[in-house]
């Protein structure tokens, strides 16, 4: 490659000066940009841009949604709303299962505790005999 050894043995990299210059430039640029994005003007500009995009795309989104809904209905296929409804029901079922799991855990713990207590009592009674 285009590298030569310098007197102290380290490789001479002709690109290092360019890299240093580049990094210095980027550092300065970065500072300017950080200050720029932290201004109200930037917040206003991005907010306006987003708002315009949402306003302009809303009619297309709504039209597409209507077309999709009627197409899916014609094809006897479930819509996103149908899937959402099923998913919500599944989550509710999972919650009930989790409640049951919690109850089972408690029952197991009590059973283990009472078995331990019984064992201790038997041990004491056996010792008394």
């Amino acid at each position: 490659m285009a590298e030569e050894k310098t007197n102290n043995g380290a490789r001479f990299d002709p690109m290092s000066a360019w890299r240093e210059m580049r990094d210095t430039y980027l550092d300065n640029w970065a500072k300017v940009m950080v200050e720029a994005v932290n201004t109200d003007a930037y917040a206003q500009a991005t907010g306006t841009l987003l708002d315009n995009y949402l306003t302009a795309s809303a009619p297309f989104r709504e039209a597409l949604e209507k077309v999709m809904l009627s197409t899916l209905a014609q094809l006897s296929l479930p819509s996103r709303a149908d899937f959402v409804s099923v998913a919500e029901r599944i989550t509710n079922l999972e919650m009930r299962l989790d409640d049951m799991d919690a109850k089972l855990d408690r029952i197991e713990r009590y059973a283990a505790q009472s078995a331990g207590a019984k064992g201790e009592r038997r041990g004491k009674q056996g010792g008394q005999k």
Binding site: M1, A2, R19, R22, L26, W29, A30, M33, V34, V37, N38, T39, D40, Y42, A43, Q44, T46, G47, T48, L50, D51, L54, S57, A58, R61, R80, F83, V84, S85, A87, E88, T91, E94, M95, D98, D101, A102, D105
Partner: protein, 361 residues
């Protein structure tokens, strides 16, 4: 005499090798989240993992540790890659480590709120962790939005066995919006959160990613790639970059109702610190927090500026609390190359003293 073809063969082979590395790194996913774990609980998209202990039971800490990361990024930043993983480090220090992965919300989750995460998902996951670990007390580490969730939980359920609370770069205080870039952007004069959510349902991951990157546009959109280009001949640097890039580009949306609360309740009205944040009829009062508290501040954090994270220690009711400042950025303090030498050992030292003696089961 050397021919032109011979003279140019070596440089071209070098360029070709660099091009191959760059293509691979930019188009593939690194092998991340490799620490062995078991799935022990699920609910909707949320999953609770238990990391397989590597030390015998008599050499482990008694109190388990639950890791709670943000809602809009993948939690495997805590287990980035073998040899450079916070999870792996803590497992080796003898902790029984659990990780709560919130998953990626779908359209059916657009109505999920902080209320649901804090009062449904988190308590259920904690119950399961207690059952599996057999411990009544536990430690919880919340990072970024995860710190909001864990703080709210700690305030609302102070008697649920939470012994140690660790908050990393926690965006809790929104009282100084002039110092918070995000607060400028989501100001109600410029950002119509309801219009965005009406269009998308959930807050798209791409928009969140843009927001995070636009805070430091030159570093994120240019400097980051130049860093890779400059280090293509260094396999360790490339591997590290690849893993981090895999995480950074793995964006997930945020549930719409949660995002709305984040913007309206917190960024705009600072309800958590004012003590007026109400989740399911219960007011989140930081003064109710009794757990030992460790707050980690990243000195150069541009996502959660220190002013957002450093005031919580004055508000809590905990007697044992520590504020630890470390130079570095929002992610770098835990996943950067220096984290294994600086942040992780400090967290371990603090937690170790409060996690029950090793061998005390």
């Amino acid at each position: 005499m050397t021919t032109f073809a011979e003279a140019t063969a070596e440089p071209f082979a070098g360029y070709q090798r660099q091009f191959t590395i760059m293509t691979k790194v930019l188009t593939t996913r690194a092998a991340i989240a490799q620490t062995p774990k078991q799935l022990i609980w699920t609910l909707n998209k949320a999953k609770l993992y238990r990391y397989v202990p590597v030390l015998p039971a008599d050499q482990r800490h008694r109190i388990p540790l639950l890791l709670v990361f943000a809602l809009m990024n993948r939690p495997y930043i805590l287990d980035l890659r073998p040899g450079h993983s916070f999870v792996e480090f803590m497992v080796r220090q003898g902790y029984d480590v659990y990780l709560l992965d919130w998953g990626s919300p779908g359209p059916e989750d657009k109505n999920l709120k902080f209320d649901d995460y804090v009062l449904d998902y988190l308590p259920r996951a904690i119950r399961k962790m207690k059952t599996v670990s057999g411990a009544e007390e536990f430690s919880m580490l919340g990072w970024c939005i995860g710190a909001i969730l864990t703080t709210a939980y700690a305030a609302l359920r102070p008697n649920d066995g939470l012994r140690n609370l660790l908050l990393l770069t926690a965006p809790l205080d929104f009282s100084q919006p002039e110092k918070i870039t995000f607060a400028h952007w989501v100001d109600e004069r410029y950002f119509d959160v309801d219009k965005v959510l009406a269009a998308f349902g959930n807050m798209p991951g791409e928009m969140i990613d843009y927001g995070a990157k636009a805070l430091k546009p030159v570093e994120n959109y240019i400097g980051n790639y130049l860093k890779l280009f400059d280090n293509l001949e260094d396999p360790a640097a490339v591997e590290s970059w690849h893993a981090m890039n895999t995480w950074v580009t793995d964006n997930i949306p945020m549930a719409g109702a949660t995002f709305r609360q984040l913007i309206v309740d917190l960024y705009r009205n600072d309800r958590l610190m004012k003590g007026t944040w109400v989740l399911r009829g219960e007011t989140v009062d930081a003064n109710q927090i009794r757990a030992n508290l460790f707050t980690l501040i990243a000195g150069a954090d541009h996502i959660t500026p220190p002013c957002q994270a450093e005031t919580i220690n004055e508000r809590v009711g905990s007697e044992d609390k520590e504020l630890f400042r470390i130079p570095g950025g929002h992610i770098g303090i835990m996943a950067g190359s220096a984290a294994a030498r600086t942040t992780w050992p400090h967290i371990d030292a603090w937690l170790s003293a409060r996690s029950g003696k090793i061998g005390q089961q």
